[in-house]
Symmetry: C2
Subunit: 194 residues, 2 copies
DNA sequence: CGCCGAGTTGAACTGAATCAAGAAACGTGG
DNA sequence: CCACGTTTCTTGATTCAGTTCAACTCGGCG
């Protein structure tokens, strides 16, 4: 029988209260998406988070000029959530799309709330996750404020070498906040200097 | 007797469980800082959050070239936290400085954890706060990715008109990710067109 | 009064965007 | 398996937003 990444992740992170992990695994339904499918569209209200069991997601917004801006990628073992909807019942300002065929576990907001109430280990884990997320977003802001396109790209390939290989360059460019053309030039420049 | 903003904030946000609010108010010490004082320096480890009772804080990092980058401002009724340290015992990569004479309530991590365990209203409130924070950081990333300096500035004065008036322009420029000179030009341009 | 830091203005420069065209990679259907 | 159109990536020429550096103005303060 196959061991889910989700299970492995839980046992190694949520200090293995077997009961909790069982509950999570049992109550979270799996769902499969084809490459190109949307898990969430701008304007929809959703209270679910996803754990990526297999595949790769991207979260992105579309601006007034119709341009897409990638907020983040989520490969295996990552969570993807629509924070606004989850908490405030607001329509999402972001889209979530499967870049590859992807299997996720669906985590309902209610479930998290209930587990948090009854189990403080889980509660702490969940809060830790949010803090980590905040820390990484802040780091990204600092980068966008101060680093050049090249520096940001070098940082990206260092931090997410796996993602790099699986994602169209256009999306990486969008994540970095530059045009695909610029990214192409940056890559060329780097390849020459070594 | 003076009513603290902190108290008003709590009663209007944490659905007023008197007992909890009392506990928070009693257990959180007040502290005063002079303009220019640091509440936290890069490299220090700290597990406390602050509620700004009065005054104005800024959180910023310093890059390798010695340039400062403002992550956020926190005027009255805002929280300021060092997420990394709070959660992972890591040295902070940010500084927190008082831009004006400032009074804060100091909120220890332990206190939050304990209250979260015993009271689910407080727990939800706290998680909501983290979610809000994430949503706002994401919004900021999208802006930095896609908007011009002028657009970002217009957005800033719309969102934080009060802060604008109380903060040196250099800091606003840093927050927006541009140089003080550029901000000056943007402001000039705007003033001409109306 | 004169100094000092914050803000402004100007001129030259540069990193990245834009527009346009070509090359390479990719999937789909015959 | 090749031929086809489609999308993605690259390359070039030009433009532009924002930086840099330097000089100047202004208001506050000892």
């Amino acid at each position: 029988m196959k061991t889910f990444r989700f299970k492995t992740y839980l046992t190694s992170n949520v200090e293995s209260l077997e009961s909790i992990n069982k509950e999570l695994l049992n109550k979270c339904k799996q769902q499969q998406f084809k490459k190109g499918d949307y898990l969430l569209r701008e304007g929809e209200i959703s209270k679910t988070s996803y754990f990526v069991e297999d595949g790769l997601l991207r979260q992105f917004s579309v601006d007034d000029k119709g341009k897409e801006h990638v907020i983040q990628f989520a490969p295996e073992n990552w969570f993807m959530a629509n924070r606004e909807g989850e908490c405030f019942n607001l329509p999402s300002s972001y889209n979530i799309e499967a870049i590859e065929d992807t299997t996720v576990f669906i985590i309902e907001k209610e479930l998290i709330e209930n587990l948090s109430k009854t189990n403080s280990v889980f509660l702490n884990f969940n809060i830790e996750l949010l803090h980590k997320h905040i820390a990484s977003l802040q780091k990204r802001i600092t980068q966008l404020q101060s680093k050049t396109a090249k520096e940001r790209y070098l940082d990206f390939i260092k931090t997410y070498p796996d993602v790099l290989m699986r994602v169209p360059q256009t999306y990486v460019a969008s994540y970095l906040g530059i045009t695909p053309e610029s990214l192409s030039r940056v890559r060329k420049e780097i390849s020459i200097n070594k």
